[in-house]
Protein backbone atom coordinates (compact mmCIF):
# COMPACT_ATOMS: atom_id res chain seq x y z
CA UNK A 1 0.00 0.00 0.00
CA UNK A 2 1.43 3.37 -0.99
CA UNK A 3 2.27 6.23 1.36
CA UNK A 4 -0.75 8.44 0.66
CA UNK A 5 -3.17 5.56 1.10
CA UNK A 6 -1.63 4.67 4.43
CA UNK A 7 -1.83 8.27 5.61
CA UNK A 8 -5.42 8.53 4.41
CA UNK A 9 -6.39 5.35 6.24
CA UNK A 10 -4.77 6.59 9.44
CA UNK A 11 -6.61 9.92 9.15
CA UNK A 12 -9.95 8.25 8.59
CA UNK A 13 -9.38 5.98 11.56
CA UNK A 14 -8.78 8.98 13.80
CA UNK A 15 -11.76 10.96 12.48
CA UNK A 16 -14.05 7.99 12.96
CA UNK A 17 -13.49 8.30 16.70
CA UNK A 18 -15.43 11.58 16.89
CA UNK A 19 -19.17 11.95 17.07
CA UNK A 20 -18.97 15.14 15.01
CA UNK A 21 -16.05 16.64 13.15
CA UNK A 22 -15.26 18.95 10.25
CA UNK A 23 -12.70 18.34 7.52
CA UNK A 24 -12.23 21.29 5.24
CA UNK A 25 -9.98 22.81 2.65
CA UNK A 26 -9.68 23.64 -1.01
CA UNK A 27 -10.56 20.87 -3.42
CA UNK A 28 -10.83 18.22 -0.75
CA UNK A 29 -14.26 17.00 -1.76
CA UNK A 30 -13.83 17.10 -5.50
CA UNK A 31 -11.60 15.61 -8.16
CA UNK A 32 -8.63 13.68 -6.87
CA UNK A 33 -9.24 14.88 -3.32
CA UNK A 34 -5.68 16.04 -2.99
CA UNK A 35 -4.24 13.00 -4.67
CA UNK A 36 -6.23 10.69 -2.42
CA UNK A 37 -5.17 12.27 0.85
CA UNK A 38 -8.77 13.35 1.58
CA UNK A 39 -10.48 10.40 -0.08
CA UNK A 40 -13.41 8.79 1.70
CA UNK A 41 -13.74 11.42 4.42
CA UNK A 42 -17.41 12.04 3.67
CA UNK A 43 -18.16 8.37 4.38
CA UNK A 44 -17.15 8.84 8.01
CA UNK A 45 -20.15 9.10 10.31
CA UNK A 46 -20.55 12.61 11.73
CA UNK A 47 -17.77 14.06 9.60
CA UNK A 48 -18.65 17.13 7.53
CA UNK A 49 -16.39 17.59 4.55
CA UNK A 50 -16.37 21.14 3.22
CA UNK A 51 -14.80 22.49 0.07
CA UNK A 52 -13.76 26.02 0.87
CA UNK A 53 -12.86 29.19 -0.99
CA UNK A 54 -9.24 30.34 -1.20
CA UNK A 55 -9.05 32.12 2.13
CA UNK A 56 -6.16 30.44 3.89
CA UNK A 57 -5.76 32.98 6.66
CA UNK A 58 -9.40 32.59 7.62
CA UNK A 59 -9.30 28.84 7.21
CA UNK A 60 -6.65 28.60 9.90
CA UNK A 61 -8.61 31.00 12.11
CA UNK A 62 -11.80 29.03 11.59
CA UNK A 63 -10.12 25.88 12.81
CA UNK A 64 -9.16 27.61 16.03
CA UNK A 65 -12.78 28.75 16.39
CA UNK A 66 -14.03 25.20 15.91
CA UNK A 67 -11.49 23.98 18.44
CA UNK A 68 -12.51 26.65 20.90
CA UNK A 69 -16.13 25.54 20.59
CA UNK A 70 -15.42 21.85 21.01
CA UNK A 71 -15.64 20.61 17.41
CA UNK A 72 -12.65 18.56 16.21
CA UNK A 73 -11.47 19.58 12.77
CA UNK A 74 -8.80 19.15 10.15
CA UNK A 75 -7.79 21.71 7.53
CA UNK A 76 -6.08 20.04 4.60
CA UNK A 77 -4.09 22.15 2.19
CA UNK A 78 -2.47 21.39 -1.12
CA UNK A 79 0.85 23.07 -0.40
CA UNK A 80 2.68 23.80 2.80
CA UNK A 81 3.44 27.37 1.72
CA UNK A 82 -0.30 28.19 1.79
CA UNK A 83 -0.18 28.11 5.57
CA UNK A 84 2.13 31.11 5.59
CA UNK A 85 -1.00 33.22 5.04
CA UNK A 86 -2.33 31.88 8.32
CA UNK A 87 0.76 32.44 10.43
CA UNK A 88 -1.01 35.18 12.39
CA UNK A 89 -3.36 32.54 13.76
CA UNK A 90 -0.68 29.93 14.28
CA UNK A 91 1.25 32.37 16.41
CA UNK A 92 -1.11 34.98 17.83
CA UNK A 93 -4.37 33.10 18.11
CA UNK A 94 -2.69 30.12 19.65
CA UNK A 95 -0.75 32.37 22.03
CA UNK A 96 -4.07 33.69 23.31
CA UNK A 97 -5.46 30.19 23.74
CA UNK A 98 -2.52 28.02 24.74
CA UNK A 99 -2.99 28.46 28.47
CA UNK A 100 -6.60 27.35 28.21
CA UNK A 101 -7.83 23.91 27.34
CA UNK A 102 -7.72 20.98 27.11
CA UNK A 103 -8.91 21.33 23.54
CA UNK A 104 -10.30 18.98 20.95
CA UNK A 105 -7.95 18.43 18.00
CA UNK A 106 -7.37 20.99 15.28
CA UNK A 107 -5.06 19.35 12.76
CA UNK A 108 -3.52 21.47 10.04
CA UNK A 109 -2.63 18.98 7.38
CA UNK A 110 -0.31 20.16 4.63
CA UNK A 111 1.35 18.64 1.62
CA UNK A 112 5.00 19.49 1.16
CA UNK A 113 5.42 19.66 -2.60
CA UNK A 114 9.17 19.35 -2.42
CA UNK A 115 9.84 18.27 -6.00
CA UNK A 116 11.61 21.43 -7.05
CA UNK A 117 9.84 21.70 -10.39
CA UNK A 118 7.11 24.01 -9.09
CA UNK A 119 9.60 26.83 -8.62
CA UNK A 120 10.68 29.10 -5.78
CA UNK A 121 7.29 30.05 -4.41
CA UNK A 122 6.24 26.47 -3.94
CA UNK A 123 9.48 25.30 -2.43
CA UNK A 124 8.70 25.86 1.23
CA UNK A 125 9.74 22.81 3.18
CA UNK A 126 10.30 23.78 6.76
CA UNK A 127 7.87 22.09 9.08
CA UNK A 128 10.24 22.50 11.99
CA UNK A 129 10.42 26.22 11.28
CA UNK A 130 6.65 26.46 11.55
CA UNK A 131 6.71 24.43 14.73
CA UNK A 132 9.34 26.70 16.24
CA UNK A 133 7.57 29.87 15.18
CA UNK A 134 4.17 28.83 16.49
CA UNK A 135 5.26 26.47 19.25
CA UNK A 136 2.74 23.99 17.93
CA UNK A 137 3.47 20.25 17.76
CA UNK A 138 4.46 19.23 14.25
CA UNK A 139 4.53 15.77 12.71
CA UNK A 140 6.11 14.60 9.43
CA UNK A 141 5.66 10.87 8.87
CA UNK A 142 7.73 8.96 6.37
CA UNK A 143 8.11 5.21 7.06
CA UNK A 144 5.25 2.76 7.48
CA UNK A 145 5.85 2.56 11.19
CA UNK A 146 5.76 6.34 11.62
CA UNK A 147 2.53 7.04 9.74
CA UNK A 148 0.00 5.82 12.35
CA UNK A 149 2.14 7.19 15.18
CA UNK A 150 2.29 10.65 13.62
CA UNK A 151 -1.38 10.80 12.74
CA UNK A 152 -2.47 9.61 16.18
CA UNK A 153 -0.11 12.11 17.76
CA UNK A 154 -1.53 14.96 15.69
CA UNK A 155 -5.03 14.14 16.92
CA UNK A 156 -4.11 14.13 20.61
CA UNK A 157 -5.81 17.49 21.15
CA UNK A 158 -5.21 21.15 20.48
CA UNK A 159 -3.58 22.42 17.31
CA UNK A 160 -1.05 20.27 15.49
CA UNK A 161 0.73 20.45 12.17
CA UNK A 162 0.77 17.30 10.08
CA UNK A 163 3.04 17.59 7.06
CA UNK A 164 3.14 14.89 4.42
CA UNK A 165 5.47 14.62 1.45
CA UNK A 166 4.02 14.70 -2.05
CA UNK A 167 7.26 13.18 -3.29
CA UNK A 168 6.45 10.04 -1.29
CA UNK A 169 2.74 9.83 -2.20
CA UNK A 170 2.92 6.93 -4.63
CA UNK A 171 5.89 5.20 -3.06
CA UNK A 172 5.73 2.24 -0.77
CA UNK A 173 6.89 3.57 2.61
CA UNK A 174 10.05 2.11 4.04
CA UNK A 175 9.37 -0.92 6.19
CA UNK A 176 11.83 -2.32 8.68
CA UNK A 177 13.06 -5.82 7.86
CA UNK A 178 11.96 -8.68 10.05
CA UNK A 179 15.38 -8.92 11.71
CA UNK A 180 15.54 -5.22 12.51
CA UNK A 181 14.93 -4.26 16.08
CA UNK A 182 12.25 -1.58 15.89
CA UNK A 183 11.58 0.66 18.85
CA UNK A 184 9.34 3.69 19.04
CA UNK A 185 8.79 6.78 21.15
CA UNK A 186 6.40 9.72 20.91
CA UNK A 187 8.76 11.45 18.51
CA UNK A 188 10.89 8.94 16.64
CA UNK A 189 11.30 5.39 15.48
CA UNK A 190 14.59 3.58 15.89
CA UNK A 191 15.49 1.08 13.21
CA UNK A 192 18.11 -0.92 15.09
CA UNK A 193 21.08 -2.60 13.53
CA UNK A 194 20.66 -6.02 11.98
CA UNK A 195 20.49 -8.68 14.68
CA UNK A 196 23.45 -10.61 13.26
CA UNK A 197 25.77 -7.65 12.93
CA UNK A 198 28.77 -7.85 15.22
CA UNK A 199 31.30 -5.17 14.43
CA UNK A 200 33.22 -2.40 16.08
CA UNK A 201 32.02 0.01 13.39
CA UNK A 202 28.88 1.56 14.72
CA UNK A 203 27.07 4.09 12.56
CA UNK A 204 24.12 6.04 13.97
CA UNK A 205 22.01 8.00 11.53
CA UNK A 206 19.54 10.56 12.78
CA UNK A 207 17.07 11.84 10.25
CA UNK A 208 14.33 14.42 10.26
CA UNK A 209 11.74 15.96 7.98
CA UNK A 210 11.30 13.57 5.02
CA UNK A 211 14.87 12.31 4.81
CA UNK A 212 14.39 8.66 5.81
CA UNK A 213 14.76 7.45 2.24
CA UNK A 214 18.07 9.28 1.91
CA UNK A 215 19.26 7.82 5.18
CA UNK A 216 18.26 4.40 3.94
CA UNK A 217 20.64 4.71 1.00
CA UNK A 218 23.51 5.38 3.38
CA UNK A 219 22.36 2.61 5.68
CA UNK A 220 22.48 0.02 2.91
CA UNK A 221 25.93 1.13 1.76
CA UNK A 222 27.30 1.29 5.27
CA UNK A 223 26.10 -2.20 6.06
CA UNK A 224 27.91 -3.49 2.99
CA UNK A 225 31.06 -1.84 4.32
CA UNK A 226 30.76 -3.64 7.60
CA UNK A 227 28.96 -1.14 9.77
CA UNK A 228 26.27 -1.94 12.25
CA UNK A 229 23.75 0.81 11.51
CA UNK A 230 20.98 2.28 13.63
CA UNK A 231 18.61 4.79 12.05
CA UNK A 232 16.69 7.14 14.30
CA UNK A 233 13.90 8.72 12.30
CA UNK A 234 12.04 11.62 13.86
CA UNK A 235 8.40 12.01 12.89
CA UNK A 236 7.72 14.82 15.35
CA UNK A 237 9.57 18.05 15.86
CA UNK A 238 11.48 17.82 19.12
CA UNK A 239 14.02 20.24 20.48
CA UNK A 240 16.58 18.03 22.13
CA UNK A 241 18.26 14.67 22.33
CA UNK A 242 16.70 12.39 24.92
CA UNK A 243 18.56 9.91 27.09
CA UNK A 244 17.72 6.98 24.88
CA UNK A 245 19.29 8.60 21.85
CA UNK A 246 22.32 9.72 23.86
CA UNK A 247 22.81 6.13 25.03
CA UNK A 248 22.60 4.88 21.47
CA UNK A 249 25.09 7.44 20.20
CA UNK A 250 27.58 6.77 22.99
CA UNK A 251 28.83 3.59 21.31
CA UNK A 252 28.85 5.10 17.82
CA UNK A 253 32.04 5.46 15.86
CA UNK A 254 30.33 7.88 13.49
CA UNK A 255 27.11 9.84 13.44
CA UNK A 256 25.28 11.19 10.41
CA UNK A 257 22.48 13.75 10.61
CA UNK A 258 20.03 14.01 7.71
CA UNK A 259 17.45 16.73 7.23
CA UNK A 260 15.95 17.60 3.85
CA UNK A 261 14.16 20.66 5.18
CA UNK A 262 15.23 24.02 3.87
CA UNK A 263 17.59 26.08 6.06
CA UNK A 264 16.12 28.19 8.77
CA UNK A 265 14.82 26.60 11.91
CA UNK A 266 15.74 23.17 10.65
CA UNK A 267 15.57 20.41 13.19
CA UNK A 268 18.72 18.78 11.86
CA UNK A 269 20.69 21.91 12.65
CA UNK A 270 19.79 21.78 16.32
CA UNK A 271 20.42 18.03 16.40
CA UNK A 272 23.85 18.57 14.90
CA UNK A 273 24.64 21.28 17.44
CA UNK A 274 23.54 19.09 20.33
CA UNK A 275 25.45 16.05 19.09
CA UNK A 276 28.68 17.97 18.66
CA UNK A 277 28.46 19.26 22.21
CA UNK A 278 27.47 15.90 23.70
CA UNK A 279 29.92 13.78 21.69
CA UNK A 280 32.93 15.93 20.87
CA UNK A 281 35.05 12.86 20.20
CA UNK A 282 32.71 11.27 17.63
CA UNK A 283 32.72 12.50 14.01
CA UNK A 284 29.34 14.01 13.18
CA UNK A 285 28.52 14.45 9.51
CA UNK A 286 25.58 16.46 8.26
CA UNK A 287 23.58 15.84 5.10
CA UNK A 288 21.56 19.02 4.62
CA UNK A 289 20.13 20.96 1.76
CA UNK A 290 21.98 24.20 1.54
CA UNK A 291 21.93 25.07 -2.13
CA UNK A 292 19.76 28.12 -1.81
CA UNK A 293 20.41 29.23 -5.38
CA UNK A 294 18.90 26.03 -6.65
CA UNK A 295 15.47 26.86 -5.22
CA UNK A 296 15.33 30.07 -7.21
CA UNK A 297 14.36 28.26 -10.38
CA UNK A 298 12.44 25.10 -11.18
CA UNK A 299 14.85 22.19 -10.80
CA UNK A 300 15.21 18.65 -9.57
CA UNK A 301 15.55 19.98 -6.08
CA UNK A 302 16.38 17.12 -3.75
CA UNK A 303 18.85 16.40 -1.05
CA UNK A 304 22.01 15.03 -2.65
CA UNK A 305 23.35 12.02 -0.79
CA UNK A 306 27.12 11.69 -0.66
CA UNK A 307 27.59 8.18 0.67
CA UNK A 308 31.35 8.40 0.92
CA UNK A 309 31.18 11.60 2.89
CA UNK A 310 28.57 10.11 5.18
CA UNK A 311 30.39 6.89 5.91
CA UNK A 312 33.93 8.13 5.65
Amino acid sequence: MDYVTQVNEALRAELAKFEASVVYGQNINAGSRLGGLAAGMSDISGCRVLNTPNVENSLVGMGFGLMLSGTPSMFLMKQQDFVLLGVDHLVNTWNALRSRGPFVPFVIGMIVVDSGWEGPQSSFNNTSGLANLARIPAYFPTGAAEIPLAVTGAFKGGPAILAVSQRLFKQEPIVAGSNVDLSISDSYVVYGSEADSATALQLVILCSNFSLEYAWIVRESAMKRGYAVSVINYFRHEESLDNSIVDRCTSATRIVVFDDGKPGSRKGTSLNDALRVTFPEIPVVTMFRNDVERWGSPSADRLEVDVDAAIG
Binding site: T52, V55, G61, L66, H89, T93
Partner: protein, 319 residues
Protein backbone atom coordinates in the same frame (compact mmCIF):
# COMPACT_ATOMS: atom_id res chain seq x y z
CA UNK B 1 -21.27 29.85 26.36
CA UNK B 2 -23.87 32.20 27.77
CA UNK B 3 -25.81 30.74 30.64
CA UNK B 4 -29.53 31.38 31.05
CA UNK B 5 -28.98 32.95 34.45
CA UNK B 6 -26.67 35.52 32.92
CA UNK B 7 -29.21 36.47 30.30
CA UNK B 8 -31.83 36.92 32.99
CA UNK B 9 -29.50 39.05 35.07
CA UNK B 10 -28.57 41.46 32.33
CA UNK B 11 -32.05 41.85 30.96
CA UNK B 12 -34.15 41.77 34.10
CA UNK B 13 -32.78 44.23 36.62
CA UNK B 14 -31.99 47.50 34.90
CA UNK B 15 -33.38 49.06 31.76
CA UNK B 16 -31.00 49.27 28.77
CA UNK B 17 -30.56 52.99 29.36
CA UNK B 18 -29.73 52.48 33.01
CA UNK B 19 -27.24 49.79 32.13
CA UNK B 20 -25.54 52.11 29.65
CA UNK B 21 -25.24 54.84 32.26
CA UNK B 22 -23.86 52.39 34.78
CA UNK B 23 -21.18 51.24 32.31
CA UNK B 24 -20.32 54.88 31.63
CA UNK B 25 -19.86 55.52 35.34
CA UNK B 26 -17.90 52.30 35.84
CA UNK B 27 -15.51 53.34 33.08
CA UNK B 28 -15.12 56.79 34.60
CA UNK B 29 -14.23 55.28 37.95
CA UNK B 30 -11.78 52.89 36.36
CA UNK B 31 -10.29 55.79 34.45
CA UNK B 32 -9.56 57.56 37.74
CA UNK B 33 -7.44 54.62 38.82
CA UNK B 34 -5.85 54.51 35.38
CA UNK B 35 -4.88 58.17 35.66
CA UNK B 36 -3.22 57.42 38.98
CA UNK B 37 -0.97 54.84 37.33
CA UNK B 38 -2.77 51.99 38.98
CA UNK B 39 -2.40 49.52 36.11
CA UNK B 40 0.53 48.14 34.16
CA UNK B 41 -1.62 46.70 31.38
CA UNK B 42 -2.86 49.07 28.66
CA UNK B 43 -6.61 49.59 28.80
CA UNK B 44 -8.83 50.66 25.92
CA UNK B 45 -11.68 52.69 27.32
CA UNK B 46 -14.91 52.85 25.36
CA UNK B 47 -16.78 56.00 26.32
CA UNK B 48 -19.58 56.39 23.80
CA UNK B 49 -19.63 52.68 22.95
CA UNK B 50 -21.90 51.74 25.85
CA UNK B 51 -25.15 51.48 23.85
CA UNK B 52 -23.90 48.70 21.58
CA UNK B 53 -22.53 46.74 24.52
CA UNK B 54 -25.82 46.95 26.34
CA UNK B 55 -27.66 46.00 23.16
CA UNK B 56 -25.50 42.94 22.65
CA UNK B 57 -26.02 41.83 26.24
CA UNK B 58 -29.76 42.08 25.59
CA UNK B 59 -29.66 40.35 22.23
CA UNK B 60 -27.76 37.22 23.21
CA UNK B 61 -29.62 34.05 24.02
CA UNK B 62 -28.46 31.07 26.07
CA UNK B 63 -25.74 29.20 24.21
CA UNK B 64 -24.61 32.16 22.12
CA UNK B 65 -20.88 32.77 21.99
CA UNK B 66 -19.23 36.16 21.71
CA UNK B 67 -15.87 37.08 20.20
CA UNK B 68 -14.46 40.52 20.93
CA UNK B 69 -11.58 42.82 20.06
CA UNK B 70 -8.97 44.61 22.16
CA UNK B 71 -11.50 47.30 23.12
CA UNK B 72 -13.77 45.04 25.12
CA UNK B 73 -14.20 46.70 28.50
CA UNK B 74 -17.75 47.90 27.82
CA UNK B 75 -18.85 44.39 26.87
CA UNK B 76 -17.29 42.84 29.95
CA UNK B 77 -19.21 45.29 32.11
CA UNK B 78 -22.31 45.02 29.95
CA UNK B 79 -22.37 41.27 30.29
CA UNK B 80 -22.45 41.60 34.05
CA UNK B 81 -18.84 41.48 35.17
CA UNK B 82 -18.40 43.52 38.32
CA UNK B 83 -16.12 46.53 38.20
CA UNK B 84 -14.27 45.02 41.11
CA UNK B 85 -13.50 41.83 39.17
CA UNK B 86 -12.40 43.83 36.16
CA UNK B 87 -10.09 46.02 38.23
CA UNK B 88 -8.58 42.96 39.86
CA UNK B 89 -8.06 41.38 36.44
CA UNK B 90 -6.31 44.50 35.19
CA UNK B 91 -4.10 44.24 38.26
CA UNK B 92 -3.42 40.64 37.20
CA UNK B 93 -4.68 39.29 40.51
CA UNK B 94 -5.71 35.66 40.82
CA UNK B 95 -9.18 36.69 41.98
CA UNK B 96 -9.68 38.83 38.87
CA UNK B 97 -12.33 38.24 36.24
CA UNK B 98 -10.14 35.76 34.36
CA UNK B 99 -7.88 34.83 37.25
CA UNK B 100 -5.45 37.56 36.32
CA UNK B 101 -4.26 35.64 33.28
CA UNK B 102 -5.48 37.83 30.44
CA UNK B 103 -5.31 41.46 31.49
CA UNK B 104 -7.17 43.79 29.15
CA UNK B 105 -6.74 43.20 25.42
CA UNK B 106 -7.29 39.44 25.54
CA UNK B 107 -9.77 39.39 28.39
CA UNK B 108 -12.28 36.56 28.17
CA UNK B 109 -15.18 35.48 30.33
CA UNK B 110 -16.39 32.11 29.06
CA UNK B 111 -18.98 31.83 31.84
CA UNK B 112 -20.76 34.73 30.20
CA UNK B 113 -20.15 33.54 26.64
CA UNK B 114 -17.15 35.75 25.87
CA UNK B 115 -14.96 32.98 24.49
CA UNK B 116 -12.23 34.80 22.59
CA UNK B 117 -10.85 38.31 22.48
CA UNK B 118 -8.07 39.40 20.17
CA UNK B 119 -5.69 42.32 20.14
CA UNK B 120 -4.78 41.66 16.48
CA UNK B 121 -6.78 43.68 13.97
CA UNK B 122 -9.14 41.40 12.04
CA UNK B 123 -7.81 38.27 13.73
CA UNK B 124 -11.03 37.52 15.61
CA UNK B 125 -13.25 37.40 12.52
CA UNK B 126 -12.35 33.99 11.20
CA UNK B 127 -12.14 32.53 14.68
CA UNK B 128 -15.75 33.62 15.06
CA UNK B 129 -16.65 31.90 11.79
CA UNK B 130 -15.34 28.69 13.32
CA UNK B 131 -17.30 29.27 16.51
CA UNK B 132 -20.47 29.79 14.44
CA UNK B 133 -19.79 26.75 12.29
CA UNK B 134 -19.37 24.71 15.44
CA UNK B 135 -22.90 25.75 16.45
CA UNK B 136 -24.17 24.41 13.12
CA UNK B 137 -22.28 21.15 13.44
CA UNK B 138 -23.74 20.60 16.89
CA UNK B 139 -27.27 21.46 15.69
CA UNK B 140 -27.39 24.21 18.27
CA UNK B 141 -30.08 26.87 18.43
CA UNK B 142 -27.44 29.43 19.30
CA UNK B 143 -25.31 31.73 17.18
CA UNK B 144 -21.97 33.50 17.32
CA UNK B 145 -21.25 37.22 17.55
CA UNK B 146 -18.09 39.04 16.66
CA UNK B 147 -17.28 42.68 17.27
CA UNK B 148 -14.95 44.51 14.94
CA UNK B 149 -14.30 48.09 13.90
CA UNK B 150 -14.01 50.43 10.94
CA UNK B 151 -10.25 49.94 10.98
CA UNK B 152 -10.34 46.15 11.07
CA UNK B 153 -12.66 45.91 8.09
CA UNK B 154 -9.79 47.25 6.00
CA UNK B 155 -7.94 44.00 6.63
CA UNK B 156 -8.27 41.23 4.06
CA UNK B 157 -9.51 39.04 6.87
CA UNK B 158 -12.82 40.91 6.80
CA UNK B 159 -13.52 40.05 3.17
CA UNK B 160 -12.33 36.50 3.74
CA UNK B 161 -14.60 36.01 6.70
CA UNK B 162 -17.60 37.35 4.78
CA UNK B 163 -16.98 34.86 2.01
CA UNK B 164 -16.25 31.99 4.34
CA UNK B 165 -19.20 32.60 6.65
CA UNK B 166 -21.56 32.86 3.68
CA UNK B 167 -20.09 29.73 2.09
CA UNK B 168 -20.70 27.62 5.18
CA UNK B 169 -23.92 29.49 6.08
CA UNK B 170 -22.70 30.24 9.55
CA UNK B 171 -25.13 32.05 11.87
CA UNK B 172 -22.55 34.71 12.62
CA UNK B 173 -23.43 38.30 13.44
CA UNK B 174 -20.60 40.74 12.84
CA UNK B 175 -21.00 44.03 14.67
CA UNK B 176 -18.95 46.87 13.21
CA UNK B 177 -18.27 49.56 15.77
CA UNK B 178 -17.64 52.46 13.41
CA UNK B 179 -16.07 55.32 15.33
CA UNK B 180 -14.21 56.61 12.29
CA UNK B 181 -10.75 56.24 13.76
CA UNK B 182 -7.85 53.83 13.61
CA UNK B 183 -5.23 54.71 16.18
CA UNK B 184 -4.94 58.46 15.73
CA UNK B 185 -5.96 58.52 12.10
CA UNK B 186 -9.42 59.31 10.84
CA UNK B 187 -10.94 57.46 7.90
CA UNK B 188 -10.46 60.50 5.69
CA UNK B 189 -6.79 60.61 6.59
CA UNK B 190 -6.03 56.96 5.92
CA UNK B 191 -8.10 55.54 3.12
CA UNK B 192 -10.69 55.91 0.42
CA UNK B 193 -14.27 55.44 1.57
CA UNK B 194 -15.78 51.98 1.84
CA UNK B 195 -19.43 51.44 1.10
CA UNK B 196 -19.90 48.75 3.70
CA UNK B 197 -23.43 47.94 2.61
CA UNK B 198 -22.33 47.25 -0.95
CA UNK B 199 -19.22 45.40 0.15
CA UNK B 200 -21.16 43.11 2.44
CA UNK B 201 -23.94 42.71 -0.12
CA UNK B 202 -21.46 41.62 -2.76
CA UNK B 203 -20.83 38.52 -0.70
CA UNK B 204 -24.53 37.82 -0.27
CA UNK B 205 -24.37 38.67 3.42
CA UNK B 206 -27.27 40.52 5.04
CA UNK B 207 -26.53 44.09 6.08
CA UNK B 208 -28.24 46.12 8.78
CA UNK B 209 -27.46 49.59 10.08
CA UNK B 210 -28.48 51.19 13.34
CA UNK B 211 -30.69 54.20 12.62
CA UNK B 212 -28.89 56.27 15.24
CA UNK B 213 -26.46 55.95 18.13
CA UNK B 214 -29.02 55.54 20.88
CA UNK B 215 -29.35 52.57 23.18
CA UNK B 216 -32.81 51.88 21.82
CA UNK B 217 -31.63 51.82 18.21
CA UNK B 218 -28.80 49.44 19.06
CA UNK B 219 -31.07 47.12 21.01
CA UNK B 220 -33.53 47.05 18.14
CA UNK B 221 -31.01 46.38 15.40
CA UNK B 222 -29.11 43.64 17.21
CA UNK B 223 -32.34 41.83 18.07
CA UNK B 224 -33.31 41.95 14.41
CA UNK B 225 -29.87 40.70 13.40
CA UNK B 226 -30.15 37.67 15.63
CA UNK B 227 -33.61 36.90 14.36
CA UNK B 228 -32.36 36.91 10.75
CA UNK B 229 -29.18 34.96 11.47
CA UNK B 230 -31.02 32.19 13.27
CA UNK B 231 -34.15 32.20 11.16
CA UNK B 232 -32.28 31.99 7.87
CA UNK B 233 -29.06 30.34 9.12
CA UNK B 234 -27.02 33.04 7.49
CA UNK B 235 -24.38 35.57 8.45
CA UNK B 236 -25.42 39.15 9.15
CA UNK B 237 -23.34 42.32 9.40
CA UNK B 238 -24.56 45.16 11.60
CA UNK B 239 -23.06 48.59 11.08
CA UNK B 240 -23.17 50.73 14.23
CA UNK B 241 -21.84 54.27 13.76
CA UNK B 242 -20.74 55.76 17.08
CA UNK B 243 -18.42 58.30 18.63
CA UNK B 244 -15.61 57.41 20.97
CA UNK B 245 -16.00 60.15 23.54
CA UNK B 246 -13.75 61.28 26.24
CA UNK B 247 -12.25 64.54 25.19
CA UNK B 248 -8.87 63.03 24.50
CA UNK B 249 -8.16 65.43 21.71
CA UNK B 250 -4.56 66.38 21.18
CA UNK B 251 -3.62 69.57 19.39
CA UNK B 252 -1.03 68.81 16.76
CA UNK B 253 0.38 71.77 14.92
CA UNK B 254 2.63 69.41 12.95
CA UNK B 255 -0.17 67.25 11.66
CA UNK B 256 -0.36 67.05 7.88
CA UNK B 257 -3.99 67.96 8.03
CA UNK B 258 -3.24 70.80 10.39
CA UNK B 259 -5.92 69.46 12.68
CA UNK B 260 -6.06 68.07 16.12
CA UNK B 261 -6.14 64.31 16.45
CA UNK B 262 -7.70 61.99 18.95
CA UNK B 263 -5.27 59.86 20.86
CA UNK B 264 -7.39 57.17 22.35
CA UNK B 265 -5.59 54.05 21.19
CA UNK B 266 -4.79 53.32 24.80
CA UNK B 267 -4.30 55.26 27.92
CA UNK B 268 -6.38 57.21 30.38
CA UNK B 269 -8.66 60.13 29.64
CA UNK B 270 -7.22 62.75 31.95
CA UNK B 271 -10.28 65.01 32.18
CA UNK B 272 -12.82 62.38 33.12
CA UNK B 273 -13.76 61.63 36.70
CA UNK B 274 -16.68 59.87 38.20
CA UNK B 275 -17.82 62.89 40.16
CA UNK B 276 -17.63 65.20 37.17
CA UNK B 277 -19.00 62.83 34.64
CA UNK B 278 -22.08 64.82 33.68
CA UNK B 279 -20.05 67.86 32.81
CA UNK B 280 -17.16 66.23 31.02
CA UNK B 281 -18.46 63.60 28.67
CA UNK B 282 -22.22 63.79 28.49
CA UNK B 283 -21.87 66.15 25.57
CA UNK B 284 -24.25 67.00 22.77
CA UNK B 285 -23.18 64.09 20.57
CA UNK B 286 -23.55 61.66 23.43
CA UNK B 287 -25.84 58.73 22.60
CA UNK B 288 -26.99 58.67 26.19
CA UNK B 289 -28.30 62.20 25.92
CA UNK B 290 -31.96 61.32 25.66
CA UNK B 291 -31.65 58.78 28.41
CA UNK B 292 -30.15 61.37 30.69
CA UNK B 293 -33.13 63.62 30.15
CA UNK B 294 -35.38 61.04 31.75
CA UNK B 295 -36.78 62.16 35.11
CA UNK B 296 -35.20 59.25 36.96
CA UNK B 297 -31.70 59.79 35.54
CA UNK B 298 -30.20 62.20 38.07
CA UNK B 299 -31.10 60.10 41.06
CA UNK B 300 -29.98 56.94 39.30
CA UNK B 301 -26.59 58.44 38.51
CA UNK B 302 -26.08 59.51 42.10
CA UNK B 303 -26.95 56.04 43.36
CA UNK B 304 -24.67 54.46 40.80
CA UNK B 305 -21.77 56.70 41.74
CA UNK B 306 -22.26 55.91 45.39
CA UNK B 307 -22.34 52.18 44.77
CA UNK B 308 -19.25 52.32 42.57
CA UNK B 309 -17.35 54.35 45.16
CA UNK B 310 -18.11 51.76 47.80
CA UNK B 311 -17.17 48.89 45.50
CA UNK B 312 -13.91 50.49 44.46
CA UNK B 313 -12.96 51.48 47.99
CA UNK B 314 -13.26 47.87 49.02
CA UNK B 315 -11.39 46.58 45.96
CA UNK B 316 -8.51 49.03 46.13
CA UNK B 317 -8.10 48.43 49.84
CA UNK B 318 -7.25 44.84 48.93
CA UNK B 319 -4.54 45.76 46.47
Amino acid sequence: MIAESVVTEVTGVLSPGQRAIRIRCQQAALNELYCQGYFKVPIHLAFGHEPVAVALAHAVEPGDQVVLSHRNLHYQLGFGASLSDVVKEFLLQEDGLANGRYGSMNLINPNQGIVYTSSILGNNLSVAVGVALSQVVRNSSACAWVVTGDGAIEEGAFAESLLLSRTVNAPLITVIEDNGWSLATSIEERRSPINIKELVGAYGVRYLEAKDKSVEACVEILAEARSIAMGQQTPVVVHVPLDTLGGRWVDDSNAISGRRFINYHAGPAKDITLDGIEETIFASEDPLGTTLAEPWAAAFIEDTKSNIRMELAWTTSLK
